[in-house]
Structure formats: C-alpha cells, structure tokens
C-alpha cells in the first residue's frame, strides 16, 4: 500500500481500518539465494538494495529479536559526511547522497533533516586539524564551511563564549549534515524490501553457519536450517559471536556507548553540535527532547547500559559548552553495543569462507552509514566485488598497515576511537 496524504485522509474518514502491516511476517523457506544475518538498519538496507539494484529477491533477513532491535534504535540519529580520510570520505559521501531522497525512494518518511552539523574547535591546533578535514570533505565534493568564533556565535548564540573552560575558536560546519528518525529507517527499509519480495523473519536466531569444503551453504537457526547461496553478516555489536560460528576471529571489540534524551522542551537547538574538548554531541528532536551522547564507557561490554562516570563526563561537557541545558532534565539513558575496530572505521569485505561476507566494525558511524552500507554490501553480495565507495573498507588494512583509517589518530586500541 502506497503512503500519501490522500491515503491518510481516506483512512481517517473510514476509521483507519484499512491500514495493512508495514511488512509481512514471513516464514522461513528452505533455501535463499542470499541470507542476511541481522535485521537492523544495515541488514534491511542490504536486502532492499539487493532486490532494487541487483534484482536478487530470493533473500531472507534473519533477525534474532524484533526488527530494528539493535543499534538502529539506540543511537543519537546523526547523519553526516564529514570524514577526513580516504575510505571514509567516499563511503560516507555516497551514503549521504542516498539519504538525500530516501523518503521518496522508500515512500516512507524517515524525517531526514539536513539541519546542519557544527564541530567546534578550541585551539589553533584543532583548527588546523579541522581545516585539513574540511578541505578533505571539499575534495570529496561534499560541503564544509570553516567558521571562526563570530561565525559560530551567529549560528549558536546560546553557547558560552565567555566563561567556558576551553574557549570556542570556531567550528567546521556541514550544512548537509543533520539527523533522521532512527526507527523509521529500519521500518522504511523493511517495508521497501518486503514490497520487493524479501522475506523478513523476526525472532529467528542464527545458531550456526554451515560451511562445506570452504564454502558457505546455509545457516542453522532457532527456526530450523536455512540453505543459502551466499550469507552476509550485518550484526554489528555481535560480530565476534556470529563470525565465530564460521570459525572466524575478527578485529572487533564490543563496547557500550551511552546515549541520552531529555524531556521535551520548546526547540532551541536547531543544529547538531559537537564539542571538541571532551566527547559531546547534541541535537534537539522534533518532539523537543535534547538527544545527546559522548564517549564509550571504554570497557568491553554487551550490556546495553552504561555507568555514571561517563554519563557525568558527557553532561559536564554539555554544561560547560551550553550552560542553558543545565535546566533540562534527563529522561532516559541507554547504551548501544558498538563494534569497535582497531582504527575506528568499518569493514565491508569478503571472509576466508567462500560465499560468506562481513559487514561490521561500525564503531560510532553505523547509523549514518545505513543506506551506503546497504548499497555497498548488496553490491559485494551480488557481484563478489567491492563497490567503489567501499573498496577501502578491507580487513587486511590492519595486517599490512596500508590504508588505515584512524580518524581519531589514537592507534590500534579498539576503545580509543
């Protein structure tokens, strides 16, 4: 069923009784051309683009819990393409272009809002590093503007420009950056994939990956075995466990990243703002809640919850940067499980097992990556060759040291990115 204002009108007048499920509750079939493990944003987008761009429709997406139960529904909803290093530059650039127009593509309002993102800097050295990054963004063909203090003040007059511990020297502004409604992205891709014939199977946990003579042949699940020509893993947060089902050890450590939302307030913060002297990023949702986050809790964790010291640190950063938010009240805090890679950048690659493909290591970048990741992973699954925009997201960069994408420049330590 196509969504439109007219449809809302006619349904509203007839008691809203005609709405159909957004996607079918599919039963698993014995065999698929492609099985995608993970019914989150990445898995669903992959299924959608497999069907849409490659005509591969005998596809199943297997989800252990409810659809979108992982990080797609636990993030701070930021969408941007402001990376500084090759590999990330072209990939996130590609992803942002897919975001632009996603509503029309999916006939689903994911509320992608290009309200602009401003990364603040607080020293000459940081300014130089951000200038380098901004120029890299422009080299890629994306938008970036370098603001000085006055430029920031014009856009974000509510920041503390006088007393804050680390003065605001300026900011790197990407007007095309913004936010989107996170759950809607999962639902929109699910609905889109479903309409193209993809089977979305919830409450179906993969318990084994069947490999015969070095080639994947299917998966064992809590709902029985399912044969597959190719299998794609899109289970960031759980990558190590799922890869281990095929005997693989991956360069991933799982970490908890907290996120926070306050009570609804009349909108004041109309951009995404990030602080440069302590990890803190914030936006205000269309319901009025301040949505913000910060650093990892730093210890490996699969518990989707964090502890107080980091929560305090994040909020302290917010209070020194924009003192007005001291009056807002925290309503809810939660944690997502991040697939942290050694350089803080993602992996979309083949594995040593024929027909088994890996998509993970998203670290902080998973939400904004969803359409790009889906498109590139679909390309890899369909053609066995990397998409040009994801050609550098390789496993072997760690072994060779070639093409590392260490944006934070903190080195091979999973929890420091």
């Amino acid at each position: 069923m196509r969504y439109s204002a007219l449809r809302i009108l006619t349904e509203g007048l007839t008691g809203n009784r005609g709405w159909k499920p957004a996607w079918r509750k599919a039963e698993p079939k014995p065999h698929y051309d492609v099985v995608i493990i993970g019914g989150g944003g990445h898995g669903l987008a992959t299924a959608y683009y497999l069907a849409k761009h490659h005509g591969v429709t005998r596809v199943a997406v297997l989800e252990k819990g409810y659809l979108g139960s992982g990080n797609i529904g636990r993030n701070t909803t930021i969408v941007r393409a402001n990376y500084g290093l090759p590999g990330n530059s072209e990939f996130y650039s590609h992803s942002l272009k897919l975001w632009e127009g996603l509503e029309q593509e999916l006939n689903y309002n994911v509320m992608h809002s290009q309200r602009g993102i401003i990364n603040l800097f607080h020293s000459d050295g940081q300014r130089d590093a951000y200038a380098r990054r901004g120029n890299a963004i422009r080299n890629q063909g994306d938008d970036a503007i370098l603001l000085d203090t006055e430029g920031v003040r014009r856009i974000l007059p509510y920041l503390d420009f006088e007393q804050t511990r680390f003065p605001i020297y300026g900011g790197l502004y990407q007007p095309r950056g913004g936010t989107a409604r996170h759950d809607a992205v999962a639902w929109g891709f699910a609905r889109g994939a479903d309409r193209l014939g993809v089977d979305i199977i919830e409450n179906c946990e993969v318990t084994g990956i069947t490999v015969e003579a070095g080639r994947v042949t299917g998966v064992a699940t809590s709902r029985g075995p399912i044969g597959a020509g190719r299998v794609g893993m899109a289970v960031a947060g759980r990558s190590s466990q799922v890869a281990a089902l095929a005997g693989l050890k991956v360069p991933i450590e799982s970490h908890v990243l907290q996120a926070f939302v306050t009570e609804g307030l009349k909108p004041v913060i109309d951009h995404v703002v990030t602080y440069g002297m302590g990890h803190f990023y914030i936006s205000q949702s269309d319901k009025g809640g301040l949505v913000f986050g910060g650093d990892l809790d730093f210890y490996p964790s699969y518990a989707a919850r964090g502890n107080l010291p980091m929560a305090e640190h994040v909020i302290e950063a917010g209070v020194t940067l924009m003192p007005m938010i001291a009056k807002a009240r925290l309503l809810r805090s939660w944690g997502g499980i991040m697939d942290m890679s050694p350089d803080g950048s993602p992996i979309i690659d083949r594995t040593p097992v024929d027909g088994l493909y890996f998509n993970g290591g998203w670290c902080y970048g998973g939400f904004k990556a969803v359409p790009g990741s889906g498109d590139c992973f679909a390309h890899l699954l369909a053609t066995d060759a990397p998409h040009a925009a994801a050609a550098r997201l390789r496993f072997d960069r760690f072994e060779t040291g070639r093409g590392l994408m260490d944006e934070e420049a903190t080195g091979s330590q999973h929890n420091l990115h």
Binding site: S240, I252, E253, S254, Y299, S301, Y302, N307, L308, Q413
Partner: protein
C-alpha cells in the same frame, strides 16, 4: 562499577582506565611483523561472558591490573596486579 584494587581496595570506576583485552599485557615474541603480532594488536576473542582485561588504576595507586569480568553482566570475579606483585 567498583573494582577491588588489590592495592587500594574497592574503588569507583572513575579512578580506573580500561585498556582492553588482557593480551596487551603480554608482548608476542619477535621484532618483525607476524601473525602473532596481528593477533596481539587487532584480533579479539571479544567474549560475551567471562573475559580478562587490562586496566590501569591511574587515579589511585598506578597499578596495572588484570581484571576478570563478565562482559554481559559487568560482574567482576577477580582482580590481580599485572606485575605479579602482592597487595
């Protein structure tokens, strides 16, 4: 979270810094790049369950600690000094 530092006693999480898997405490043999070094620096068991980690009591006694901990529940089973010293 509270960690029972073998030197200082139980202390709040905020005094500690986690480094990562306990393998960091043991450098592989060899001065040339090898599979063992790749494994040491990059590959992780990343268990959902009991794990051994390396932590630093930086805002306390400065001891590096091996912490045995459950990554699902955050329960801590044991803490010992990385240098092998007693309390």
């Amino acid at each position: 979270m509270r960690i029972d530092c073998p030197v200082c006693g139980p202390r709040d999480l905020r005094e500690f810094t986690p480094k990562g898997a306990a393998c960091y405490a043991t450098r592989p043999e060899g001065e040339e790049w090898s599979e063992a070094w790749h494994e040491h620096l990059h590959l992780r068991e990343n268990p959902a369950g009991r794990s051994e980690e390396l932590w630093y009591h930086g805002a306390g006694c400065s001891a590096w600690l091996i912490v045995e901990r459950d990554t699902r529940t955050h329960e801590i089973f044991s803490v010992r000094r990385a240098d092998g010293g007693a309390a």
